[in-house]
Amino acid sequence: MSTPERVITYGEAVREAIAEEMRRDETVFFMGEDVAAAGGVFKVTVGLLDEFGEDRVRDTPISEAGIMGAGVGAALTGMRPIVEIMFGDFITIAMDQIVNQAAKMCYMTGGQASCALTVRTTIGAGRSSAAQHSQSLQAWLSHIPGVKVAIPSTPADLKGLLKTAIRDDNPTVIYEDKMMYGLKGPVPDDDDYTIPFGVADIKREGSDVTLVATSSMVHTALKAAGMLEKEGVSAEVVDPRTLSPLDMDTIIRSVEKTSRAVVVDEAYQSYGVTGELASRIADEAFDYLDAPVKRVGAMDVPVPFSPGLEPETIPDEAKLVRTVQGLFHDVAV
């Protein structure tokens, strides 16, 4: 018996996840800047105000720290707030409340407190939004114990992970790629469809190299895999889906099979997500590797505005293909 599916966009997945969870649990509410009447600057929360009213769908002042703090306080006292930070770059203003308060409350209180806060924010360059509206800062919160981090690449993953996040009793952060809101994909037609955190997904099977990719880079990796196939290289694409907790088992199993791995993530490469994943693969699959684990991230430069420069900074399928080729070349030599 297979669940029927519908095709929706990544943006619609956000709306459906929030709406379903709000219907299911009256302690769930949603707030952020221009999210209610306007339905968000990316228009992905249109309609929620109409269905749930002003009390549960709130337009806030431009006060990232304040609304995050209010989210923490509400979460500590029996509510399940979802707080939107419009551009991931603005989370810089709310870090104290997430990192020093929300993430640590359960631990610091010896398990007395729980903080069922869900933070939704965006990542991704590619729209000439320039250096303050294009960052992918997922590494920061992945570094912080007490927070759980999801980074969905498809409508189905977004919906399932966001619903899980809302039901989770811990602070969770969902990084949505703003370039993918229009992306379509099938989603199970089931109000109770969720995806557990800590379960990676093999987005494409292959036998010669493992591409571990996050968010929009999953699609870049799939394109690269298509190109590699024509050259006779069979690439497996593994999407960790959540960075914390991280499903290393699935990744390591894949690398044990392929003996080669490339990790790709759109953030600044240095001290980012690729370093963590690559170092763990290089360690845990040491005896299986035929080539070094390579990393492909964005250039370590602020994201430039110019359409003549911005694309240079973002990993693309050509770069991935070259990187994979290098792995075989090196070994062949």
């Binding site: 806030t60 306080g73 006292t77 407190a113």
Partner: protein, 339 residues
């Protein structure tokens, strides 16, 4: 101070004690408990039985007790690094607090939080806080939560004169005001943030409370060493908040008799004068309240003494309890990272 700011200085030192006797007894008991507790903390810290930093509340007792005596058990409270007084005033148990000071497993937080993070969620105490201004957003959110659930709960946010210069105040005050949230922002102006005088770093004409007007919020400046004045103000503002009229800012003018934390030297030799401290010592909230109870015939000297004996014993027992409690097992270190 401009009248249009709707600030009033309440000082009830003169006249009779306008509160019922059981309440007065409770206020006195709580204030003295805080004093004796803090003296014991000073003691264990000096003996090396407690690590971290101990920020004593000595001198400010009327503020915590005056406010919390106007609250219900299920009302919320956020506290600060100088939080012991707030916790006791809200009903926190001294033995579990003391155990927490020492990092013991019977502490409120199983030893994981320590002095700056004690919480008792069952009493609505959302925790002391190591971040100056860190509780402002949380109190606002707790008030929002109470309002959304229709529970009638209010939230009290305690913070110092130093915290009024954190942007968090603006954002929280604004949110609370536009949404008419039942939150009392209580600034305990003890005139110093660490070693810096509030007047050197705080741009106001005279009172921190002046900042409330910019958020369309009433403000009251109170003699924070007068438990009656604080209590009466709190009753009025809690009532206001509970009936949906929104937040307020209460500025309790007070003084900490000790340094910023235990072991950081003698304030009177560095950043403040003996003369100033003496002026405030003359306004010590505890003898002041005792005098009024005596005058009102609610108590006599003998009873005052016996209360002190009882409280001192309770605090000694708490220290003994804490001393006997073990550290948590090493294996606990990975518990509670997630709920």
């Amino acid at each position: 101070m401009s009248e249009s700011l709707e600030m009033i200085t309440t000082s009830s030192d003169e006249g009779t004690l306008p509160l019922p006797e059981p309440l007065c007894r409770e206020i006195y008991d709580k204030m003295l408990t805080i004093r004796r507790f803090e003296e014991a903390v000073l003691d264990i810290y000096t003996q090396g039985l407690m690590r971290g930093l101990a920020h004593l509340y000595i001198g400010q007792e009327a503020s915590a007790v005056g406010i919390c005596s106007a609250l219900n058990d299920d009302d919320y409270l956020t506290s600060t690094h100088r939080g012991h007084g707030h916790l006791i005033a809200k009903g926190g148990k001294v033995d579990r607090m003391m155990a927490e000071m020492m990092g013991k497993v019977d502490g409120y937080n199983r030893g994981k939080g320590g002095t700056m993070h004690i919480a008792d969620m069952s009493l609505g105490i959302l925790g002391a806080n190591g971040i100056v201004g860190g509780g402002m957003g949380m109190a606002t959110g707790a008030a929002l939560s109470g309002k959304m659930r229709g529970s009638g709960q209010v939230a009290v946010c305690f913070f110092g004169d130093g915290a009024i210069n954190q942007g968090a105040f603006l954002e929280s005050a604004n949110l609370a005001s536009i949404w008419s949230l039942p939150v009392l922002f209580v600034c305990e102006n003890n005139h110093y943030g660490e070693y810096t005088a509030a007047s050197d770093v705080t741009a106001v004409r005279e009172h921190v409370a002046e900042r409330a007007a910019g958020f369309d919020m009433p403000a009251v400046v109170v003699d924070g060493n007068d438990a009656v004045a604080v209590h009466q103000t709190a009753v009025e503002m809690v009532q206001r908040a509970r009936t949906g009229e929104g937040p307020c800012l209460i500025e309790n003018k007070t003084y900490r008799y000790r340094g910023h934390h235990v072991g950081d030297g003698d304030p009177e030799k560095t950043y403040r004068t003996q003369e100033e401290t003496d002026t405030w010592l003359a306004k010590d909230p505890i003898p002041r309240f005792a005098r009024r109870m005596l005058k009102a015939g609610m108590m006599d000297e003998a009873e005052l003494e016996s209360i002190d004996t009882t409280i001192t014993k309770r605090v000694e027992d708490a220290v003994a309890f804490a001393n006997e409690s073990p550290y948590p097992e090493a294996g606990e270190v990975t518990d509670h990272v997630y709920a």
